[in-house]
Symmetry: none
Subunit: 193 residues, 4 copies
């Protein structure tokens, strides 16, 4: 979206509109897949015209990205690996948020821009905060992130939901991975597309 650098000419955008749209999108996606949801429907539910929607985002995909960011909210100041994983797991357990995430990771398979965007706006900040807290290598933190999110998403894809047990299992693995004792051979962590 746009940075606000002083008042621009013309009628200013209504402040609440984007929020209403994003909320409408998340609510709809909780109950149906993104492909089956029409932008007309999102617009109607948000009490807004479809053109307004296209004025703020270039395409349906970009709206999906914004919906994810809106659903995730700001990163918390993590205090422990378990807490950090817990925050992540909590988001992934929410059906709406999870479906947006699944949709986006699916789309990112063939969209480098989307990939970069997901990395820089979601994974990188998260990994950075995790690494600050725990004196661990970036590679481990990155692996932990991919493992937690990936495993939980895939399990949900297999069973339809995520149980407390699932979260605990994944937490165990992640904690072990991040512990100083973990002796993963120093391999290059994934970074470049």
């Amino acid at each position: 979206m746009r940075d606000q650098e002083g008042p621009r000419p013309g009628r200013p955008r209504q402040a609440d509109v984007s929020g209403r749209i994003l909320t409408a999108a998340r609510e709809l996606i909780a109950a149906r897949s993104w492909e089956r949801i029409s932008l007309d429907e999102v617009a109607t539910r948000a009490g807004v015209a479809k053109t307004t929607l296209y004025r703020r985002w270039r395409s349906k995909d970009e709206l999906a990205v914004a919906t994810l960011e809106h659903a995730l909210g700001p990163l918390p100041a993590a205090t422990s690996v378990r807490a950090a994983v817990g925050w992540l797991a909590e988001r992934v357990r929410d059906p709406g948020t999870r479906h947006v995430l699944v949709t986006l990771t699916s789309l990112s398979a063939r969209d480098p821009d989307l990939r970069t965007m997901l990395r820089s706006r979601l994974r990188d900040p998260y990994v950075a905060s995790l690494r600050d807290e725990q004196a661990t290598r970036e590679a481990s933190a990155t692996l932990a992130f991919d493992l937690v999110v990936g495993t939980l998403l895939h399990r949900a894809a297999m069973t339809g939901g995520i149980t407390d047990g699932d979260v605990a299992d994944v937490s165990d693995v992640a904690e072990q991975l991040m512990s100083p004792a973990a002796d993963l051979p120093s391999r290059d962590a994934a970074g470049a597309p």
Copy 2:
């Protein structure tokens, strides 16, 4: 797909047609996301009419499932955790196969039938073979499967591909998980949709 229960009257189906369609689908999906591929396109590339395609599969989703099965091929008789994970990782590394898989897991978020299908045709047989080989609990094997597939898919979604290092990292975690020494508290593994 239909069961072939003895010879039926009328002109039999051309043997190679299904294979050509499935191959065309995999090739196309290697370069573009499934949502952006039209069945007309698949049909054209396979040198076939769209009608033929709908005579063999009921919907685009079912064609995706068949494409995945065709791409995965038969399960190998695994001899070790590392080898089993390697076989899985090799499939996931192939872009065409991976994209079909991503598409299907994404679709399964909203489709219980598809979920059941993926479990019974992909995960269950794999887990069974893994468990036979290694005297481990089913829960651990299932977790290992979800972890390997999920983590690798998610990493590919973040970076665009899967490196040898990625496979090795995931193998390490899976191996540790499957080892008899692994002392995960006995929690129920996910199973019901």
Copy 3:
């Protein structure tokens, strides 16, 4: 539209569909201006999908042309100037037909193709039949056509309709124009765009 040169492959077009669409268009245009009529509306009234409409005509303008042809019907074998003018006047007096005609002449101001089309499919055949009947010069017949149609359309634009008196007045002028005694200096009649 297309010539039918033997059976072509694929499902043949439903015979009555074009007629239903054209009739629906004429009925709608009798009550509202062409610009205010949506193709969705035409399609709905014809009991047809919008896509069918676009399969048969490339644009809204082309549909308007077809509607005019359909509304005019075949040229009659005219027996006298007065009868020929009468046939023309009768068409122009029908609100639906007249409005299609007005719309098309208005559009043709900036569309050479449309102009050519109107000339070759409407004016030329009419003038030819008129000239065959009466042993007159083409220039006079063409002028008579433009005069009858143009004057009546413009009078309708001024008053909202066409009276018997209008038709009679115009007939008088046209008859005089076509009479052998008419001594118009031999000027080139309009032809090239």
Copy 4:
């Protein structure tokens, strides 16, 4: 358009703005049909905001009317039928003016107000001046007007332009019509909508 009834409070309107807009409209309409021209475009070409445009005219149609009046200019004091027809023909030959006229006559098919407006502001004054000059019946003068304008507009619609020959032909007919010798049966001329 609004009447200017003495100085009103606040900032007065910039004098040249309306003229610039009307000129821009005429220039644009010379090259494209009015339906294909957007008000945004007119505003941009006039170096003006769309708001300004809507402050001065209520709708696109009203702007078209104003554009026509601006393009026609004041009625001349006609001295002869031939001169009067010449003045009319000259206006109609100018593409910009002609297209505005065509647009308005086309619109008037469905708009009684517009019809009344065209009659009272264009045809009636013209016919009055014609009748004053020549001692002829109103019916004849009115018919002459409709015949000249209608025929020329329709010929332009058929061929894309108006030649000297066209004007001469129409003048001949009009002159004959207005001559005292003309023995049209006394029929009521069109007047009521």
